[in-house]
Amino acid sequence: MKTWIALFAVLLAGCGKKTSGPGGSSVTLNGSGSTFQKSFQEVAIEGFGKANPGITINYGGGGSGKGRQDFADLVTDYGCTDSPYKPDDKAKAKGGELLYVPILLGAITVSYNVDGLDTLQLSAETIAKIFQRDIQKWNDPAIAADNPGATLPDAGIVVAHRSDGSGTTHQFTMFLDAAASGTWKLKSGSTVEWSADTQAGNGNGGVAQIIQSTKNSIGYVDLPDAKASGLKFAAVKNAAGKYIAPSAAAAQAAGDGVEIKDDLTFVSVNAKGEAAYPITAPTWCMVYTKPADKAKGAALKKYFEFMVGDAQKLVPEIDYAPLPKPLQDKALAAVAKIQT
């Protein structure tokens, strides 16, 4: 469904601004992909446009899969994704050598709706059991063990998940696969084999809506959407054994503890560090090292410098975590490799 919305957005964008600058030196850049960072793209594009009136940027969203496909097929000038290409697919990218530029980190909350239960602590094991329906009641001993002293209702748990294939599902299941490896049986991916007695919503907003309107429900929603819907969310036990509530700061702390590969890809779930929120997802934008069009190349370099530079200040306002300093330095070094 996201694909259609994105298509529509691209069409709209196409009909919209066609005015060229006075010097005729206007450049239009098109990007698509990750919806996880769409709100960041929106504020970044707005901020960038003020300083660079000659450059128009359209970001179509559509999901990470679409972002990777469009970018590989040279349909877009840059693509954004929450997970890197598989090695085979990376080789098929038509523009040659590409760079992964980390953009930001975001927390995925485990949000719930239980009357009278204002704080909740969950370990990865317990979350795994809840989401694969091994635990069906809120007053299960496993939940009680995570929440000493709490009064848990004798009510059935309603599990909500994504109906559309999603990077959020992928990161959430990667976390369970890593942190509750003995317990979690559904593996990880953009769609996993949820039990039939669960509910599905479209997009983060769809899941948030189910949780909001269903008593005793639980689901995974990214932090901005959970906050926008006024949901309560659990503190999740991290690799260091601490229960950490999701926040921009805790997500950034997770970024401090990750192992960064040479191509700047990394896994940020279940990161080490006392203050790290364990269900933290990364997201990247991709650009070719040698953009075919020189004018576009220069504009792309400028925009990428802005995204990992000045625009990082805008990130906490939209409830995401900016890049930790070491990662930001590496991102800037990567952007410098764009040849114009």
Binding site: S163, G165, K187
Partner: protein, 285 residues
């Protein structure tokens, strides 16, 4: 002059014949190419899963296992609910408009029904989500999808049924009435035998439309995995809805599985349409 003109005419005739032939050929060619490329891309998953693709209830992209049975079931079940709800209403409306309603009322009713047919399906879908599933408490389920699909196919079946019923010769209807038949007896005795075949065809076309509907179904069916049940209140899933939901983030094998679903849907629709034709042909005799 006259000979000249004839020459030109012959030219125009030949050109027209070829143009018409080319148009017809292009339609067939496009259809064949679609079927061929789709079938080709469906091979990897069918190769891996074999017949289990159609019989297994497990759809686990993360595991590389694809069983389409729940989606096949959902498609057929919701379409069946839709037809069961839509056919009686459609026939009633068609008979009302053609046999019962006063002349001045016919045009407005037909106009309103045709209007219902051009409402975009996403509008029905959103209405279903907001009103049927939340307000009326149907939730998102097979039944909600069936009701939405029924509303969507009612104008199609009605308009075809109306045209079919109108082909009943006036003389036969008047003959029935002249013999002292009531209006109901006239409908049963004169209209029904004449339009039976056409009505079956209209129903089948509605069925085909209901099975292929994507966005409205995707919004209200519930998108649950592995559901094969007669419980109409349970959340389910259908083939077009799964394709729409999962295509964006699918990897290679997953995409192949979604294409295989599309091919299956394609084949089922063709079979339904051919079945409709066969029934129509047989009842004509």
């Amino acid at each position: 002059m006259a000979i000249d003109l004839r020459g030109k005419r012959a030219h125009a005739d030949t050109a027209f014949r070829w143009l018409a032939f080319a148009s017809a050929a292009i339609v067939l060619l496009v259809l064949a190419l679609i079927a061929l490329t789709m079938a080709g891309r469906a091979v990897p998953v069918l190769d891996r899963m074999g017949l289990e693709f159609f019989t297994s209830r497990r759809w686990s992209p993360a595991d590389g296992r694809f069983g389409a049975l729940p989606f096949l079931w959902g498609t057929l079940y919701t379409a069946a609910i839709a037809v069961a709800l839509a056919v009686p209403v459609s026939l009633g409306v068609a008979l009302f408009v053609t046999q019962v309603a006063p002349r001045w009322l016919r045009a407005p009713i037909v106009y309103l029904l045709d209007l219902l047919a051009v409402v975009p399906s996403v509008v029905f879908g959103l209405w279903g989500v907001m009103v049927l599933s939340q307000h009326f408490g149907l939730g998102r389920s097979f039944l909600t999808a069936g009701v939405i699909l029924a509303i969507m196919i009612t104008p199609i079946i009605t308009s075809l049924a109306r045209e079919v019923i109108e082909t009943t010769p006036e003389s036969e209807k008047e003959a029935a009435l002249a013999l002292g038949a009531t209006r109901w007896e006239m409908i049963v005795g004169a209209v029904w035998p004449h339009s039976k075949a056409g009505l079956v065809g209209a129903t089948m076309l509605g069925l085909g439309r209901a099975m292929g509907e994507t966005i409205a179904a995707a919004l209200v069916i519930g998108s649950s995995l592995g559901q094969v049940t007669l419980d109409a209140f349970a959340p389910g899933n259908s083939m077009p809805a799964v394709i729409a939901n999962e295509w964006g983030e699918a990897d290679e094998l997953h995409k192949s599985a979604l294409i295989a679903l599309a091919v299956t849907l394609f084949v089922i629709t063709i079979v339904v349409n051919m079945g409709a034709r066969a029934i129509v042909e047989r009842s004509k005799r």
